[in-house]
């Protein structure tokens, strides 16, 4: 008995290490690169571990020229706000389609999902012109509102699917008591929707966080409107693509999302069950 228990633990540890190496390996390599003095990462023969590790690269990317912490802050604001907006709008829409008596439910659902299939390149140019006439270019608003919209199809799909797992009886009971739809949504269903809200929230946050094309076009190169992906791709010097700096930037920017994922991982998986998947 004890023996099989130990084998199990050993095998688990081995499997764990293997998977960790595969999934985290690239990140670990970026970490190692980020502590090499700038320029030495190209030395041939290559040194796997740095001979003189340094934190200089981190100083450079947070320093005057690049200020990646501003970009990280911008990304947090943009993605956070967009996420809240998406959840609100998608939640209301999903509720309307799943639980109320509005007309044209199927058509609305189709319309919402079809929007999610549009390839991003097609929308960039007209969106740019639109944002320009609204005077939003170069501000974070030019990212928040579109990102909010871009997250709606997926979030609606998930939330609507989740509704299938919530017994109608809850709604019925409230309606008999004379509650209005608004009340039913905010007071009764919202708490029950928590798991899917978390997972849809994380997904739309990550979707907004990772957007590059839109963010780059709309930022007009202004540092106050730059998000993380845009900032990191701008690290280079007259000599070469400064991989040590890029590595430092990547490590810094990856931190918030890793924390986010670590905290919400249970909800992420939990919220995906029922409805959309079964």
């Amino acid at each position: 008995m004890k023996k099989t228990r130990w084998i199990y633990i050993l095998l688990s540890a081995g499997l764990f290490l293997l998977i960790a190496l595969f999934e985290l390996g690239p990140l670990m390599w970026m970490g190692i690169t980020s502590i090499k003095p700038a320029g030495t990462e190209f030395r041939i023969p290559m040194e796997i571990l740095p001979v003189e590790p340094t934190l200089d690269n981190y100083a450079v990317v947070s320093g005057e020229d690049f200020r990646i912490q501003d970009a990280i802050l911008n990304s947090l604001i943009v993605s956070g706000s967009a996420m809240l907006g998406t959840l609100l709008l998608s939640g209301l829409a999903a509720f309307a389609m799943a639980r109320t008596r509005v007309r044209h439910k199927r058509r609305s659902f189709f319309a919402i999902q079809a929007a999610g299939l549009v390839p991003p390149i097609i929308i960039i140019a007209p969106t740019f012109v639109l944002l320009r006439s609204l005077g939003l270019l170069g501000t974070l608003g030019a990212l928040i509102i579109p990102h909010m919209s871009y997250g709606i199809p997926l979030a609606t799909l998930l939330i609507a699917g989740y509704f299938a797992g919530i017994p109608l009886a809850i709604d019925e009971a409230a309606r008999i008591d004379g509650a209005s739809s608004i009340r039913i949504f905010f007071q009764i269903l919202l708490p029950v929707l928590k798991p899917v809200l978390f997972s849809a929230g994380v997904l739309s946050f990550l979707g907004s966080w990772g957007d590059f094309m839109h963010a780059f076009t709309v930022s007009l190169g202004l540092p106050e409107a730059r998000t993380v992906p845009v900032a990191i791709l701008s690290f280079s010097s007259a000599f070469q693509l400064q991989w040590a700096w890029i590595a430092a930037g990547v490590m810094l920017s990856v931190l918030p999302v890793v924390v986010l994922v670590a905290v919400f991982q249970r909800y992420l998986i939990g919220g995906l069950t029922s409805g959309a998947l079964s």
């Binding site: 960039i124 740019f128 320009r132 005077g135 939003l136 270019l137 974070l140 190169g221």
Partner: protein, 434 residues
């Protein structure tokens, strides 16, 4: 009652979001209002990070421009909008702005191959007669940036390509002059290799980007080919062109160039030379700026720069590049922008570029200036290539031609198709782009 509460919260939330996003807008609006009242105007220059760097004894170009403008036009503020480092990124940004009719950037940097496209698309304000200083420029320099008779930009930096060579290694092997023909180059390589077997003979940027087009243009002429035939059609499929491309492939096959060149951009390509491990390198005169810098380079004092070698029936050429500043037709402050342009075209600013960035300037007589000469002891060497200078292939839609060339040339280099097939494809696909 409770419904109202919820509605109010909703409204509050939405309005917070909306206000937040407009906050940036209102800031710029109020700034504009202020500037109107004080007659202060802001002119924004769009260029990449390099404008904030000086590679020689001159001042940082952007700071210099700012100071000059302040001295001559105290009510104009100059700002820098930092664009992507690579030319493709810069071009994309400019294209988006032009299509959005955006006037955020008033003056932007224009690369030499874009002149025809931008000219035909109307993306730059014609400068003819608007800049008094333009009179002082060498005609050839202005012509590079002229389309259909309209001057589109003022040059501030030029470049030429050529062959870098290790003077010390060559003279050790008994050669005093750089190779003038391809045969000579082969000879030199094999001789030097006997003495130094570990040396990499020839490095060049063979990655799939714009520089590859320049490199091919160079060898095209070296083997006796040309861009157009007598009828004015593209001649990329001529026997000479095929020979040129075959030559490039043979460099790889014979091991004279490492396989990695197929992935290298310009900066990756000259690294081995700077570290002293290559005999020949093909690049533009950017390198000159730090080859003698003891800290960054291993070959200080041991290098030379010359036009690429050619076959006897071909021509030795050097491909020009360079940037000029142009005015955005959608700018809100066109007059102020033109004033700033005149400052940029002025002798002092051009001289500073010569001191800070390099010796190829088109302002008449600048190269005789003692300070410029002192800052650019290599100026002789670089200017010696100017007589060989030619531009890149002509095309109304150059970026499309360049893209086709890059794709086909690179697929031939990587062995996916033969040189003949690739060049035939170029000619076929490029039809109509002249």
């Amino acid at each position: 009652m409770k419904n109202n509460k919820v509605m109010i919260t909703l409204l509050y939330f939405v309005s917070v979001l909306v206000l937040f996003s407009f906050s940036g807008c209102s800031q710029s609006e109020s700034a504009a209002a202020d500037s109107d009242s004080n007659q202060d105007e802001t002119v924004t220059i769009g260029y990449n990070r390099f404008l904030t760097q000086a590679f020689g004894p001159g001042e940082v170009p952007f700071d210099f421009i700012q100071a000059q403008v302040k001295a001559t036009h105290p009510n104009i503020q100059v700002e820098l909008n930092i664009m992507p480092d690579d030319t493709a990124g810069m071009r994309n940004a400019i294209a988006v702005w032009m299509n959005g009719r955006d006037g955020t950037v008033d003056i932007y940097g224009m690369d030499t191959p874009w002149v025809t496209e931008f000219g035909s698309a109307g993306w730059a304000v014609p400068l003819n007669g608007e800049l008094p200083e333009a009179e002082n420029f060498v005609q050839a320099g202005l012509e590079t940036f002229t389309y259909d008779g309209r001057l589109l930009a003022i040059p501030f930096w030029g470049s030429v390509t050529g062959l870098y060579y290790r003077k010390d290694l060559l003279s050790e092997a008994g050669f005093d002059e750089p190779p003038a023909t391809i045969e000579e180059m082969r000879e030199m390589i094999s001789t030097v290799r006997e003495q130094k077997p570990g040396i990499t003979p020839f490095v060049w940027p063979g990655g799939k980007n714009e520089v590859l087009v320049m490199l091919f243009s160079d060898f095209l002429h070296a083997f006796g080919g040309s861009y157009l035939d007598e009828k004015g059609q593209y001649a990329f499929n001529s026997p000479e062109a095929v020979e040129a491309l075959e030559f490039m492939r043979s460099l790889l096959e014979e091991g004279l160039s490492p396989e990695e060149v197929k992935t290298w951009n310009q900066q990756e390509a000259y690294r081995l030379f700077v570290e002293g491990q290559a005999l020949f390198a093909w690049s533009n005169n950017d390198l000159v700026l730090w080859l003698d810098d003891q800290e960054r380079s291993q070959v200080a004092g041991k290098w030379g720069f010359a036009p690429s070698p050619a076959r006897p029936e071909g021509r030795r050429v050097s491909i020009t590049g360079g940037f000029g500043f142009a005015v955005n037709p959608y700018s809100d402050v066109p007059e102020a922008a033109l004033k700033v342009m005149n400052v940029i075209a002025g002798r002092e600013t051009q001289k500073n570029f010569a001191l800070a960035w390099g010796p190829i300037q088109y302002y008449r007589g600048l190269y005789k200036d003692p300070e410029v000469q002192q800052a650019n002891p290599k100026a002789e060497r670089i200017n010696a290539l100017l007589p060989y200078a030619i531009s890149r292939p002509p095309a109304v839609r150059y970026s499309q031609l360049s893209s086709i060339l890059q794709q086909e040339l690179h697929s031939a280099l990587t062995g996916q198709q033969s040189s003949l097939v690739a060049l035939e494809a170029v000619n076929r696909r490029a039809e109509g782009l002249q």
